[in-house]
Amino acid sequence: MAKYIFVTGGVVSSVGKGITVASMGNILKSRGIEVSVQKLDPYFNVDPGTMSPYQHGEVFVTKDGAETDLDLGNYERFIDIELTSLSNTTSGQIYSSVISKERRGDYLGGTIQVVPHVVCEIKQYFHQLAEISQADVILVEVGGTVGDIEGQPFLEAIRQMRKDVGRDNVLYIHVTLLPYISTTKELKTKPTQHSVNELRRIGIQPDVIICRSDYPISDSIRDKLSLFCDVEREAVIPLPNVETVYEVPLILETEHMGDLLVKKLGLNARQ
């Protein structure tokens, strides 16, 4: 059965979550683990095909003709896989599917609600990708940041997954930004503490925190985040800016990210 890694973002968006997810896929694949990836986009467009490139960037086209988020391009390039329409799910798709089921009478007169109906629909998409791809690990990136109104059904769905498929088969990773205050010349952890608190309020305790920053991250900051966010120290992974995005998998490897994922999910990895 497939195991799941759910990746959420905190503090701000555009922090490099897509590259981080793609890099994790790359390091897992290099250990002989089959991976597939899914991107959840909370907006209500069915796909980004009709959106202005100014709003959304490039529209990436998969082999089966799906018009998808540009992060799928990063997944394909970093992991060297070919994805399909199953790998990009939007609120627009979820809701239109729920509503057409309701019109067909599939819910037998029930009142349609976000919990359980919309959330169940989202979980169906996870299971469907797992079944069709037959991958060992499904990486799921939740678009936007924790606390967005549109993102809440997705967060609820990933929270329920831990109960559905078992504690040992699910890992939550939170990608945040440590802002730099130039007057005091220090990186601040408070926004990360807040976004982790927000995640916990929803019922998700992150297992790993990946910290993006413009400057190197000291050991004392790692200790502090470990203490305040209740995450093991080796699971606080610093990821400062790099010259080229293709360096990110190498940085994650030097921080032992690959071994950490293998250990936490109990994967059969090739050395």
Binding site: A66, R77, Y246
Partner: protein
């Protein structure tokens, strides 16, 4: 690979002429594909992002004089089209390597119609629905489709390559599968007269009905593709067409560098 990426120094100046250049993410895969192809050719691709409307305003010389290669990526709508046509014209007349992707190929066809076949009315039915010479026309399957979402010709389709063409030399294959996303195509009514004037259809759909790749006979490297090759480039496996484009653009550096020597002495 990362070490290579940081170590390469030889620059190649590529100008990308598009309408969304203010946001580089709009051409994310194109940018990455150029980077992969540069790496493969041991050079560092410097991309200048030029708004095609600026070419309409200032003329092509000002923006393209340093270009060793010109790339016109995909897009929709009439804004900026004339600037792209002038960029294609500049590339053809000055023999600068040119790669047109989707809209970039259609622009190349319009330019050829206007300036080689001397037909100023040549246009795409997308930009002027009433044009009398629609060298680019709506796909037959698209006639009558009014819904905008998810209705284009999309995804993988095969393309048969013409032996001994630039495209076939780049791919070193006879049939390739490439990803598409378009509503318009080369109008087959104009195929014969374009061919006589020096356009080569180096890639066709297997039934021969749809022009997938075209190139210009008397030009070092001018290739337009109806599909989007940028989606298949990988860091360790750069796309053949991007590789061929950069390899040719690199040579423009050597040849182009000579006239800057003090020739008078």
């Amino acid at each position: 690979m990362v070490k290579l990426l940081k170590d390469v120094v030889e620059p190649v100046n590529i100008v990308l002429v598009g309408k969304y250049v203010e946001l580089e993410d709009a051409y994310y895969s194109v940018r990455e594909s150029l980077c992969h192809a540069g790496l493969h050719n041991s050079c560092c691709v410097n991309i200048s992002w030029v708004q095609s409307e600026d070419i309409e305003r200032d003329g092509p010389d000002h923006h393209l004089c340093h270009a060793q290669g010109i790339i016109v990526p995909g897009g929709f709508g009439v804004r900026g089209i004339e600037g792209m046509v002038r960029a294609a014209n500049y590339a053809r007349e000055n023999k600068i390597p040119y790669l047109g992707l989707c809209l970039g190929m259609q622009v190349m066809v319009i330019e050829f119609g206007r300036f080689v076949l001397n037909d100023p009315k040549a246009n795409s039915a997308e930009f002027d629905p009433d044009t009398i010479n629609p060298v680019i026309d709506l796909l037959l399957e698209q006639k009558g489709v009014s819904s905008k979402g998810g209705t284009m010709r999309r995804g993988n389709y095969p393309c048969k390559l013409l032996p001994s063409s630039l495209a076939a030399a780049s791919y070193n294959a006879d049939t390739v599968y490439e990803r598409h996303r378009h509503r318009y195509e080369f109008n087959n009514k104009y195929r014969d007269c374009f061919e006589q004037a020096g356009m080569v259809y180096s890639g066709l759909s297997p039934d021969g009905e749809l022009v997938e790749i075209c190139e210009i006979k008397d030009h070092p490297w001018m290739v337009g593709t109806q599909f989007h090759p940028e989606f298949l480039s990988r860091p360790n496996r750069p796309h053949p067409l991007f590789c061929g484009f950069i390899a040719r653009a690199k040579k423009v550096l050597r040849e182009g560098a000579q006239p800057t020597l003090p020739l008078s002495q």
